[in-house]
Amino acid sequence: MGQLEIEKLSETKFVLQMGPHHPATHGVLKLYTEFEGERVLKIVPDVGYLHRGIEKLAESKTYPSAMTLTDRLDYISSMTNNIGYCLAVERLMGIEPPPRAKYIRTMVAELTRLSSHLLWLATHALDIGAMTVFLYAFREREQILELFEKICGARLTVSYPRIGGVRVDIKEKVLEEISKFTEIMLNRIDEYEGLLTENRIWISRTKGVGVVSSEEALSLGLTGPALRGSGVYYDIRKLIPYDAYSEVDFEVPLGENGDTYDRYLCRIREMKQSALIIRQCIEKMPEGEIIAEQTIDIDIPHQGKRKISAGDSLWSGFIKFVDEKAELIPPGEIYSAIEAPKGELGFYIVSDGSGRPYRMRVRAPSFVHISAIPKLCEGHLLADVIAIIGTLDIVMGEADR
């Protein structure tokens, strides 16, 4: 071969398409990547393979029925999605749930945070190579899903929180089992730390990978543990408290360097704080009602009929609904956000005075985090790209809606 051909060969770049079917991308995410040897030159993510049209569907359903749609956004932690939606509609109506319902909702939200962080730990460690942690974490997660089955009858897509409170009451027997589980969980978190935190292989794989400074993280729109790993104190449970978070004590762990190791430490310490919050909620739980007086729930006699005038149909276009009990929700708009395990989950609801949402917008944390992948992966190797996807904790159900 001549000199010119050898030079041309060494300049060509290597195009790799980590397509939608891939075990390490946590769902259907396509990454178009260009490498030079093993160094990353360019990454372009592509989403939209799981788009189901939740925002358009919610415009034709009543408020309690639209809550079953929000179960399926972030399907790993479905109780917190329901709580976020119920909080937005309660603020729109101007009501508050009774105290026992607030404590039950806080306890269930922290159980969900534990379950979601356990799944994050399992898949992140499995991608990097530590396969034992995967099986240990799923052993604990199975116990949490059995507890959910005892509380409300379903393991994954629960519709347990309601607008104004919760759906059914929890018995004493189940509360005792939850508190026994909390004691077991505190020991198991020490086990996971013993396997990973001081391990020299883990440290050399995760220290210095995916570094982001605090101004860049805020400008990119990162929230949740990804932002707290860079040192910014932004936790909605402390800044704008909702439910019973103002009455329990807990700390918020912060990181220093903004790399993968700090985000890992943030999440492990958050798991421990969650277990302590559950213990306090069980000790302090008051007696009383579990749903508010003035609410548009379904078991308080029937919700509105769907009156459609002649000539309209769902197939033709714009319809205007007229409902009974519509005067409980006046025209207006609201934005309310909660601290979901993955970041800040926000709901922006516009109501026009009929009993249905006019526009429901879901601000999903995973959608914003995927757009930050090209910035974080500059100059890293192929194996680090997998570690960075794992540390941002993305789920395609809420990124695509």
């Binding site: 079953t68 059995e146 086990e191 391990n199 078991d299 308080i300 029937h302 919700q303």
Partner: protein, 190 residues
Amino acid sequence: MNNLLKKILFLDIIKGLLITFKTIFTHPVTIRYPKEKKEPEEGFRGRHAFVRDPETGKERCVACTKCAQVCPSQCIYVDFSLNVETGVRVLTKYEIDALRCIFCGYCEEICPVNAIVLTEFYEYASYDRKTNYFNKESLLKNWDEFISQYKGNEYINKFWYLPGINRMRLPVGKRQPKPVPIRKIAGVRD
């Protein structure tokens, strides 16, 4: 100096290996599925069934169509005929498309006479779609199959009477828990 000693003697890796070594002697947590099964908890949302009333022997439904109005995925089809003099409704057609159902449990919560229930039976996969399109007779058959393997004297579902809510806000049929008797108590003969 301490850190250098830890690095040379591989103390961090030995700590991890000790944890995995201890787990060899614990009891395994797997359940071997077809031979050992786990009982679902009470209130589990499984296959739909129509309750067979022990006195009349037929269904309890009065064709109020509340379940069809409240279902979020609109999978219930109800048809009735109206007797004009007495004003009593007679149910003629009741169909549930279980493949569209999302198993939310709203229909069993809102039914004022506790006619429909989501039983704790979950192993009903089949090879074609027609088996899972339930009509009135197959819903009653589901209830008979579920009762024949139920251990206990009477059946009640917690979503029928919603514990914890103030009793005066619910319709009359749901205020007190009224279980459905299944077996006659031993020693009492007809």
